[in-house]
């Protein structure tokens, strides 16, 4: 998002926050509009329209499959359907108004859109009316979401698939489709998967379509989190926090701090952040460390700044989004780092992967050794977190780096707990250990960014050797 877009959305958030009636529908309309507004320009122009339609359709489908039958009545949901349909048609109608600032003007013809919307509605109707097993449908939806995720996040798979598609569509093979960008899919997927799993375990609250879609595409957090939990979100959607003096100051401070972090500090650091080209240009080890640290701080200020902006916007509406960062670079060990870096993502993986897998292993007939359980669960969780950012070797190695780091830290803590000398229990000893811990953790995390940031493991390895004077 640009500063202007954030400013516009802040004003809209204030208006929504002040509404006493129709607040939920207004929020729904704005969030749906933002899905269209922020969608990046696509190689095939009309995809800029169809991808947001896909976002809304997938969300509605997820609601249909997760909501109890009692919540699916036409009476309580028609306003939300009208709003979502209205926004889609309004966006399409921009082909006649040609207001580029509002949305791309090259949208499909209106009768195509109407036909598609009727088709989607009919498909959903048939699916929910005539399919007997909701459980099977949920599993199917789960699988579809993961498959789309793999397609979008894997450059190789996308390239191959689009190559076939180019040929099938009879387009010029010299100009193949090279990419499709689906705004906010990672977060969309995680919110929907969260509701599917909670539905399967019977913990999902009953929500209307409007409430569900508002949760999934809530505009402050749609593109970059935080990943809220639906039960907490719905509580505040139904009973929003009052925008009193404290609320205004809180929201204003978060917005201002977020803008400063993202558009001043992070942008300045971006100029000198370690990149592929810099690895080959920089001549001395000292400068390599400077630029690597620059990247470490840049990614922190960029991401945490965006979170501050999202939390500030949410607060203006009356919804307190969860925190995502808590001074992660000042944590004395890797476990604490991951409890304070992208916290909502870590919590999601803990709830829906780490804990179930740990339980599964522990319930095995032949019990695994503790160390092996920890190794497998930590490494697999972190590799999955890495690949959530993209299915590449670099992200996988980044996950592996952290998984092994967490395992080693866990084993070391166990080993050292009863062997620490007496001076480490004194206040000054604790401070010293803490300082050493912060130093080691920060540098471990920073070195890990090499795999995350640089385009190939080969370049990351080259950078690693330069950092230690081996090249």
């Amino acid at each position: 998002m640009t500063v202007v877009q954030i400013a516009v959305l802040a004003l809209v958030a204030v208006v929504i926050g002040r509404l006493s009636r129709g607040r939920e529908l207004a929020l729904l309309a704005v969030s749906a509009y933002v899905v269209f507004w922020l969608q990046p320009v696509q190689q095939v122009v009309s995809l800029g329209f169809w991808m947001p339609v896909a976002t809304l359709s997938l969300t509605i489908l997820a609601w249909l499959l997760t909501a109890p039958p009692g919540m699916r009545s036409w009476k309580s949901n028609w306003p939300a359907i009208a709003v979502l349909t209205g926004v889609a048609l309004l966006m399409d109608a921009n082909r006649y108004f040609k207001l580029d600032q509002i949305f791309v003007t090259s949208t499909p013809r209106i009768h195509f859109v109407l036909l598609a919307l009727v088709g989607i509605a009919a498909a959903f109707f048939i699916l929910t009316r005539f399919m007997k097993s909701g459980r099977l449908l949920l599993v199917g939806l789960f699988a579809i979401i993961i498959l789309i995720f793999v397609f979008l996040k894997s450059p190789e798979i996308m390239k191959t698939t689009l190559g076939y598609l180019t040929a099938a569509l009879g387009r010029d093979p010299g100009q193949p489709l090279v990419s499709i960008s689906w705004l906010g899919y990672s977060y969309l997927a995680f919110r929907i998967l969260h509701t599917i799993r909670d539905r399967q375990s019977g913990r999902l609250p009953s929500v209307t379509l409007g409430e569900y879609v508002n949760y999934v595409i809530f505009f402050p957090s749609f593109t970059a989190g935080p990943i809220d939990r639906i039960e907490r979100f719905i509580m505040e959607l139904r009973s929003p926090l009052a925008l009193d003096n404290e609320g205004w100051v809180d929201a204003g401070t978060r917005l201002f701090v977020g803008l400063f972090k993202k558009f001043v500090i992070a942008e300045m650091l971006s100029v000198i952040s370690l990149s592929d080209i810099m690895v080959s240009q920089v001549k001395t080890t000292g400068w390599m460390w400077v630029f690597l640290y620059a990247y470490a701080f840049r990614i922190y200020f960029d991401f945490s700044g965006y979170t501050d902006i999202a939390i500030g916007l949410g607060r203006l509406i009356g919804i307190r989004l969860p925190e995502n960062f808590s001074a992660p670079y000042l944590k004395p060990n890797l476990t604490q780092f991951w409890n304070s870096w992208h916290m909502t993502l870590t919590q999601w993986f803990r709830s829906y992967f780490f804990n179930p897998v740990t339980r599964l292993i522990r319930s095995a007939k032949r019990p695994w050794p503790v160390w092996l359980t920890i190794l497998v669960t930590q490494v697999s969780t972190m590799v999955l977190i890495g690949m959530w950012h993209g299915i590449t070797w670099g992200f996988a190695l980044w996950g592996l780096w952290h998984g092994l780091g967490l395992f080693i830290q866990n084993r070391w803590s166990d080993f050292a707990r009863s062997r620490m000398p007496a001076w480490t229990q004194t206040r000054s000893g604790q401070i010293l250990l803490n300082v050493i811990g912060v130093f080691l953790t920060f540098n471990f995390v920073t070195l890990g960014w090499l795999f995350f940031n640089l385009s190939t493991p080969e370049i990351a390895w080259q950078a690693m050797r330069k950092l230690f004077g081996l090249l």
Binding site: N245, E246, W248, V249, D250, G252, E267, M268, L269, S270, V271, I272, S275, I277, M278, Q281, V282, K283, T284, W287, V290, F291
Partner: protein, 377 residues
């Protein structure tokens, strides 16, 4: 926290913001002079320049052409606090061939001259500084020359070619961002330079908000000094694509100048009078008491191995009119002038005007006697 009234806070914030903008516009602080270069970071060897936006991370350069002070402060010539008493400062002006397209900063003409560690006849250390900037724009060069007088020059050397005097680059860096200076220069010397699309600056352009892009770039230029310090890279070898058909710079294509044979003496004089002489006069006047040496820069067309696209540049006959006219006029006006147009061979060029490092080395050998001569006048 609970005692804070957000309305009062907001009003105060807006008031302070407005006042800060007004104060900034009124006092016009010389923020461009605040620079880490030549203080904590080594000064650059030439102006920061990026050919394409997407290259800026690769070349560690951010051009703040909106602000002369910021540009001069970032290069070595801006280090006036440390000028040695016995330094003879030669400031070179020109286009991309002077700036050193596709060359490391150390390999440009200026770098080659400094490598020679020259001393003048009276024992002063001759030190050359590169004030070249890509695109041949004579008016821009004169603006830079005017500004450069603050940096204690002993000699200006201005490399020109025929393109320098043609007003095709009116939208070039420095001109539209310095409208008042450009309009004044054009008006004072009656230059035939189309400035119809250059609008005088408004008070808004002096506020913080109005100058936000310039201020942002100034800060980024300081940060990028770390990249420059660590790598020494401020250029990117740009692969030349096929010649664009959309940009015709050709004098030959001008309806007024159909060809040498058809061109009357009157038209030849008119061409030179409108394009060339007024600007040379302006440069000489702006240089003031500092000597100005004008150099007709080497041109691949005269080297015998011209590989240029004829649709892109002027024809040889047009160039010859310019070249001969320039020499005659400068001689009659007692200007200091050297014609190095045909001084290099084809292998010394990478393109029409841009030279190889070896070409720069050869050129340095040819210009040095003239520099030493000027220093001992």
């Amino acid at each position: 926290m609970q005692n804070v009234d957000p309305l009062r806070l907001g009003i105060k914030a807006i008031l302070i913001f407005v006042l800060a903008n007004l104060a900034f516009a009124y006092f016009d602080p010389p923020v461009g002079k605040l620079s880490l270069y030549n203080l904590l970071l080594p000064g650059r060897l030439r102006f920061p320049y990026v050919r394409r936006d997407e290259d800026f991370l690769r070349v560690h350069s951010i051009s703040v052409f909106e602000n002369f002070d910021a540009m001069f402060s970032s290069i070595e010539v801006g280090n006036i606090a440390k000028i040695q008493n016995n330094e003879y400062r030669v400031l070179f002006l020109g286009d991309s061939s002077m700036w050193g397209f596709d060359l490391a900063a150390q390999d440009t003409l200026v770098g080659q001259i400094n490598r020679l560690n020259l001393q003048t006849c009276n024992g002063r250390v001759l030190r050359a500084y590169n004030l070249g900037y890509p695109l041949p724009v004579g008016v821009r060069d004169v603006l830079l020359l005017d500004k450069a007088r603050e940096y204690h020059p002993n000699l200006f050397v201005w490399f020109v070619t025929m393109d320098t005097f043609i007003d095709k680059n009116v939208n070039a860096d420095f001109l539209t961002t310095h409208p008042d200076e450009t309009i004044k220069l054009v008006g004072t010397y009656g230059l035939k330079f189309d400035i119809s699309n250059i609008q005088p600056s408004s008070p808004w352009n002096k506020t913080i908000v109005g100058r936000r892009l310039e201020l942002k770039k100034m800060i980024l230029l300081q940060v990028d000094g770390l990249g420059w310090s660590a790598t020494g890279v401020d250029y990117y070898v740009w692969r030349k694509g096929p010649a664009s058909q959309g940009i015709s710079l050709s004098v030959a294509a001008s309806p007024n100048v159909a060809g040498e044979a058809a061109m009357s003496d009157k038209n030849k004089i008119k061409l030179l009078n409108s394009f060339v002489f007024p600007l040379l006069h302006a440069a000489q006047s702006e240089a003031g008491k500092t000597p100005l040496l004008i150099v007709n820069e080497p041109d691949q067309m005269l080297s015998g191995s011209d590989a240029r696209d004829p649709g892109q540049v002027y024809a040889l006959w047009a160039y010859n009119i310019y070249r001969n006219g320039l020499a005659e006029w400068l001689k009659s006006g007692n200007y200091d002038y050297v014609d190095l147009g045909g001084s290099l061979t084809g292998g010394d060029f990478v393109s029409e005007f841009h030279r190889t490092a070896a070409g720069e080395q050869k050129l340095a050998q040819k210009i040095v006697p003239e520099l030493l001569h000027q220093a001992c006048k």
